[in-house]
């Protein structure tokens, strides 16, 4: 039994470490409707394209909340820089919506989407 544990515990520990390190791709997938980042980004893109600033503002809040939820799950398997960059993108999108600036809003959302695609990969 002791010999089995001597082999099993290190293997289990390594497998656990690997799982945590590679969990980003799985954990970034939405678990419900409240944490779907890519869908939120797409919705805001449509809102901005149609210049529906009120809906865009609400959806940006929603995106921010979703991002706060997801970031807690993926923080161990993603680069801190990418996480920070995406947070900054979201903050800028909110600023662009307040300023009703279509160009900056769409540019920031496009960059946010790129970061989101790359995160955890």
């Amino acid at each position: 039994m002791r010999k089995f544990l001597l082999i099993a515990v290190p293997i289990l520990a390594l497998v656990l470490c690997i799982m945590v390190m590679l969990s980003g791709n799985i954990l970034k997938q939405p678990f419900g409707t409240e944490d779907n980042i890519s869908q939120s980004i797409e919705t805001i893109v449509q809102d901005i394209k149609h210049e529906d600033w009120e809906a865009a503002d609400q959806n940006a809040d929603h995106l921010n909340r979703a991002w706060d939820k997801v970031v807690r799950r993926i923080q161990f398997s993603a680069e801190r820089n990418t996480i920070n960059d995406l947070s900054i993108n979201i903050a800028r999108v909110r600023g662009a919506i307040q300023a009703k600036d279509k160009a900056i809003g769409l540019a920031e959302l496009s960059e946010a989407n790129e970061h989101w695609e790359n995160i955890g990969n």
Partner: protein
């Protein structure tokens, strides 16, 4: 985040180094030493370099450990490869003569050889018959017969076998397994301890028995009247 990554790095490093081998620092050759530094560095980066994911560092760590392990296996299987990879012992003093050519080839200075000799308590080169630099950089010295210390065999003094002592009590607890292996029991142990004025096992910190049959007993209370203090500075440290 750093805490989780530190935990992952710590566990991985611990497991990998255990797999890599039990060589002590003093037995390491230059490559083993560098390997140790490199994998330690990777584990450190894995912990604190948050600008990159932990995974590439882990892969780097596992690759280096795997290569190190592979090298260990290869050198233990093929003697020639081991000689090429790890080097071989080199005689630097032969019959009391320093081999200057060998020193030059090994990029060793005479002062370094003398230092290594002094580390081995040899202060006079004339006493040395052979000196060999081992692959781990340490020196092995064979003194001339007339300078070698006399042994009981030389003096024809009968000696009893000392062997390795076995722990019977550790930290106030009897180690039953060791008692059983020696063919003794608790009754015998208590009888022996009584001779040392011990009534309860919890009074004892350590008891060992050597193959010659002599018992070493250390109590928690040492009853020393005067303590020797080798410190030269009043603490606290």
């Amino acid at each position: 985040m750093v805490l989780v990554r530190a935990l992952m790095g710590f566990v991985s490093l611990l497991i990998f180094t255990r797999i890599l081998g039990k060589e002590q620092i003093s037995q390491l050759n230059l490559f083993d030493y560098i390997l140790g530094i490199t994998i330690g560095n990777m584990a450190a980066s894995m912990t604190t370099d948050l600008s990159s994911r932990a995974w590439p560092h882990f892969i780097g760590l596992i690759s280096w450990c795997l290569l190190g392990y592979l090298l260990n296996v290869i050198s233990s299987k093929w003697r020639y490869v081991s000689k090429v990879l790890e080097g071989e012992p080199v005689i630097v003093i032969m019959n009391g003569k320093i081999m200057e050519n060998v020193l030059r080839k090994m990029k060793f200075r005479v002062a370094e050889i003398l230092e290594l000799l002094r580390n081995k308590n040899v202060f006079d080169v004339t006493q040395v018959d052979f000196a060999i630099i081992e692959p781990n950089g340490q020196i092995s010295v064979l003194l001339k017969p007339e300078f070698q210390p006399a042994t009981p065999q030389d003096m024809k003094i009968p000696v009893s076998r000392s062997g390795i002592s076995t722990e019977l009590v550790y930290d106030g607890l009897i180690i039953d397994e060791n008692l059983r292996q020696l063919g003794k029991d608790k009754h015998w142990l208590m009888k022996e301890l009584k001779k040392h004025g011990i009534r309860n096992i919890s009074e004892v910190f350590l008891v060992t028995l050597n193959p010659a049959g002599s018992l070493y007993v250390d109590k928690y209370k040492d009853h020393l009247k005067k303590m020797t203090d080798i410190g030269d500075y009043k603490g606290p440290f």
